[in-house]
Structures are given as structure tokens and as C-alpha cells.
Amino acid sequence: MFKVLRDLLRYNREFLIGFILTASLVIYASLHFFSPYDNTAIYLLPPDMPPSPDYWLGTTSRGQDIFWQISAALWNTMTFGITVTVISRMLALTMGMISGYIGGRGDRVLMTINDTLIALPNLPILLLVYFVMREQMNWAILAVVTACLSWNYDARIIRSVALSLRQREFTRHAVYAGMSMPQVLVRQHMPYVMPIVFFTAMNNLIFAIGIEVTLAVLGFIDLNRPTIGGMINWANQHQAIVAGVWWWIAFPIIAIVLLFLGLFLLAISINEYIDPRSRLARMGG
């Protein structure tokens, strides 16, 4: 694992840039644990202060320090994204592998569920869930719902691999040697499927963060918890642009664009690394 990372950093410029971007944003986000202010408190500081040595990225109209707000917001947004990714990867992995392995009627049932979920539009369903569960809604429930809506495509990819693995000699051999289905899936098939899980995880993370920002900008989320989308929403509420408080809306957007860029570069370079031919071409043999 360490060697792979070192090779990627040495030979792949996209990965290097993506890695530096993402890593520095993660460090920045984890700084919020040392924040001098309470993240949810308002009117602590003079409002509408432009960026200055005292307040590096300025303050909001609600009297919050934008530097520390973005730090906490990035942390929450990434937590949401990673939660969605982990849950949806587990769903995709189990559904895809089981469906491909058992085949026949079970496969058809699972894939019908899968295709139904693919056909449903994500955003209206999330809004519906939000309105139905308004009272109990928090980020964890939203993460579970988003995860349930985003495993489908990848389950199909994993299933297609599992279909082929099922026919290989080592699977038949394992079954003949008396291994049970969970043993075959976990010990024989999972190592084969994990690279797919990793690279789809990156795309899924980007998707999840995008969903969270979209919902927060529209206000369909707990707005007292700092998130990137939540900050943009508040800035709009206070008509930050009209009021000339451009730093309130510009810096969260820059932060999220940098995060997307970093993750995107990581995703494409990992894709390239997983394909051995492009990897060899890049490393010169």
C-alpha cells in the first residue's frame, strides 16, 4: 500500500496535485477542533469585517469568523460524504457480489430492485424524505438516505465482475473443496473486487458532497450546523453579494471547488493506476 502510494506520487502528476490539495484541505478542516470560537454561536465578532490580519477571511453578517466557519464546514461536509461513501460501498459490494454469484432468480430479484432505484430521480426523493421526516431530520439520516440512492450503478459493475468470477476455475475449485458461499465471496472474490470499490468510492464521495451542498444551499438541511452549502445559504439569506460582503460567499465556494478538484484528480489518477497498461506507459515499462 505504501509502495503504491509512493509510486503514484512519483510518477503521476495529477495524483500529486490531487493528493496535496486534498491532504491540505483535510488538515485545514481538522483545525476546527482548535477553533477559538463556538462554531454554532452567532454575533460573537463584529459583523461584515473584510479579510484582515485579525480575521483572515473576514467575518459574516452574523458575526462569525469565516476562516473557522469554513474549517468546521469542510469537516462536516467531508464527514457526510465519507459516511455516504462507506454505507453505499458496503451496499454495492454485498448486493453486487451476491447477485452475481447466486445468479438465476435471486439475481433477477436483486437487480430489479437495483434498476428500480437507478430509474428513480435522487433529488426529488431526498426532498420528499426531508419533508416527511422534517422533525427528526439530521445529517446522519440524510447520509443513510443518500447512500441508499447511490450504490446502484456500482452494484451493477461489481455484479458484472462477480458473474465472470463465478465461472472461473478457482471458484469451482473452492466450492468443490467445501468452502461455503460467504467464504468464497469474502476470501476468493473480494480481493478481486476491491479495486473497483476504491475507485468508485472516489466518484461516490464527490457525488455525496455535491448532494449535500445542493440540499444545504436550498435550505433542506439543519442550517445551524456549519456546512459549505449552509454557509452559502446564509450568505444568500443576508444578501451578501448585494451588501458587498463578497468574502462570505466567495471563500466557501473556493473551498468546495478546491475539494472537488482534489478529489477529482485523485479519482482519475487512481483509475489510470488501476488499468495496468496506462500505468506501465506512464512509468515507462
Partner: protein
């Protein structure tokens, strides 16, 4: 591990196949089709014996051996008959109660599958494959298991360090040898091998055959194997069974099959082998093996048989005992090997 004297003492019957019928039963779009790949086969194999099954492609060799191993999946189904093993008083009826095979797998009975050099999982180290396939069946602790595996590999002339390798780092011959090591690490009484040397060049093939023979002699186990390559049969088989169109047509000690074939089909099979210093052109047998979904009536070989008489078209010849083996032909023994 047995001494040679002990190995020679094991002479009872270890495998008993009786009237085995296994058909591919398919029902596509309301059309019922039945392919009789294994049709009424009876054979038995003694301890310490190497039994070879020969026949051309699509004659049902692999189906037969899969059925014997109990490794069949639909649409292939056993319609009738039985396959029974006797491992030193440990009886296993493969198509008896479900689950009766479980105690025997790997411990008493191992199966080298077709394309067996691919049984090692490409994304896992070789030692993990050993752990997955053999560990549970040996009843040893981890501390005893690994020395045993290493010792076994050394006995087979393999460097135990290959355990740390991934399959793609090894050559095809090496993987094949590892597969044989994997199949024999539990020292089973019975080994089933489906085309164990296909896809290897003659030199590696020689090596692998020597290895199989060596293991078999050392452990006093029995082997049943399938291949269309008659030279492999000549090299290791004690007895050979010739399969044509799902039926056993002749069976006998290897030497008799090669020297004095009784069935016209066997005779053609033998005479198609090239011989040193013989410039004569080899005659191909006209026609092709019959479609097993719609086989010819009575003797299935009669449309291609140069000796066919009217009786062959109406009555199926039974497999009857001759001096040394068994043969199913109305005109057995009348054929000459060219």
C-alpha cells in the same frame, strides 16, 4: 505416508460406479432436450491403480469424470445409477444423502480440474490458496500446517518459497505442479484428474506426469484421469477405458489396449498414433462423433464403423468381459491394427 509394502497391500476396490446415467436436461423455450453425455457406465477402480479414460472431444469424458467427482451442476443431472467410494471402510455414496461427500472432500478425495493451472486465485498469494483449500481438511493447527505444506512441496521438488509468490509470477508448468501439490497435500486415497497436462508442452508434461506417478506410488492412492492424448495414457495408466458417445466401449490393461485392441473404434484410435520410422499416412476415421442429443440407435459407432453389420443397427452390444478386459462390440476382436 505408507511404505511400499503397505501400499501394495491396499488392493480392494476403492471406486464403484454402477449403471451411471447423467444427462444434460434442458428446457429452453418449451423445447425439452436431453443430451446423454454419460450413458449407462459401469466401472470399478482398485486401490493403487491408475485408470485412464480416453476418447475424442465431446464424447462425454469430462461429464463422466465430473459426475464421478460429484461436481455436477444443472443442467447436468444424474438420472440413474450410483457412484460409491470406499476409503478404508469409510463409505461415501456420492449421490446418496446430500452432504455425504463433505467428509471426504480433499481429505480422501481430491479433484484436479480442467484448466487446473487457473485454480490459484490470481489476486492472492499461493499460500492463501493452500490455506483456503487444504487447511480445514487437514485438522492441523496453523503451527503444524505450514511445516507440513513446505515439506510436501519439497518432496515434490518445488521450492517452498513459491508459497509467497502470486500466480502470475510463476510459469504455467510451475502453476500446474503447484496445483498437483495442492491436490495431494492431504494425501488423499483417490485423485480425480481432468486433463491434468493439457496446455503444457511435452517436456513440462513429462515432468508433471512423473510427478503424478511419483505421488501416486508413494501414497498408494488411486487415480482416475481423463485425456484425449493417448501418449499420456501410455505413460501412466494401468488400465484404460475407451469412451465413445457417452458409453464405455472397451476397457482393459493399457498394454492390451495398445497391442490388441478389440473394438474397431479403439483400433482406429491406436492406429492414428504416429510411430517411429513409419512413413505411412494415417487414415482419418470418416464422419464425426454423433450428436448426443440424438444418438444413432443400437451401437452408437455403427455409422462410422467399417465392420458394421445389420445387427449393429438394431441391437446394442453389451459390455462383456473378454480375457483381460471388457468390450462392447458384436464383432469384437475381428479388427486389425494397421
Amino acid at each position: 505416508m505408507l511404505t511400499t509394502a503397505e501400499a501394495e497391500q491396499r488392493t480392494g476396490t476403492v471406486l464403484e460406479v454402477k449403471n451411471l446415467k447423467a444427462y444434460y436436461q434442458m428446457n429452453y423455450f418449451g423445447v425439452q432436450r436431453e443430451v446423454r453425455a454419460v450413458d449407462d457406465i459401469t466401472l470399478s477402480i482398485k486401490r493403487n491403480e491408475v485408470y485412464g479414460i480416453a476418447g475424442e472431444s465431446s464424447s462425454g469424458k469430462s461429464s463422466l469424470i465430473k459426475t464421478i467427482a460429484g461436481a455436477i451442476n444443472p443442467p447436468l443431472r444424474v438420472v440413474d445409477g450410483s457412484v460409491k467410494f470406499d476409503f478404508d471402510g469409510n463409505f461415501v455414496d456420492v449421490y446418496g444423502e446430500p452432504g455425504s461427500m463433505n467428509s471426504a472432500r480433499w481429505r480422501h478425495l481430491s479433484y484436479i480440474m480442467q484448466g487446473s493451472m487457473n485454480v490459484l486465485n490470481p489476486v492472492r498469494r499461493v499460500k492463501r490458496s493452500f490455506e483456503d483449500f487444504a487447511f480445514e481438511h487437514m485438522g492441523l493447527s496453523k503451527a503444524e500446517f505450514w511445516p507440513r505444506v513446505r515439506q510436501h512441496l519439497e518432496k515434490l521438488g518445488l521450492n517452498p518459497n513459491v508459497l509467497e509468490a502470486y500466480p502470475h509470477q510463476l510459469s504455467g508448468g510451475m502453476r500446474q505442479r503447484l496445483t498437483i501439490a495442492l491436490a495431494t497435500v492431504c494425501e488423499p486415497e483417490f485423485i480425480i484428474a481432468d486433463e491434468p497436462t493439457t496446455a503444457l508442452d511435452v517436456l513440462v508434461q513429462q515432468d508433471v506426469l512423473g510427478l503424478i506417478k511419483d505421488v501416486q506410488e508413494r501414497m498408494g492412492s488411486s487415480i482416475i484421469f481423463v485425456t484425449h492424448d493417448m501418449t499420456v495414457h501410455a505413460a501412466i495408466a494401468d488400465r484404460i477405458g475407451i469412451v465413445y458417445a457417452g458409453r464405455l466401449v472397451e476397457e482393459g490393461p493399457s498394454i492390451d489396449i495398445f497391442r490388441r485392441p478389440q473394438h474397431p473404434y479403439t483400433a482406429h484410435l491406436i492406429s492414428s498414433l504416429p510411430r517411429l520410422g513409419d512413413p505411412k499416412r494415417r487414415q482419418a476415421l470418416a464422419g464425426k462423433p454423433p450428436n448426443l442429443a440424438d444418438p444413432p440407435p443400437a451401437c452408437r459407432f455403427h455409422p462410422r464403423c467399417p465392420l458394421a453389420i445389420d445387427k449393429c443397427k438394431t441391437d446394442n452390444p453389451p459390455l462383456v468381459a473378454r480375457e483381460t478386459g471388457r468390450v462392447a462390440c458384436w464383432r469384437a476382436g475381428e479388427v486389425e491394427v494397421s
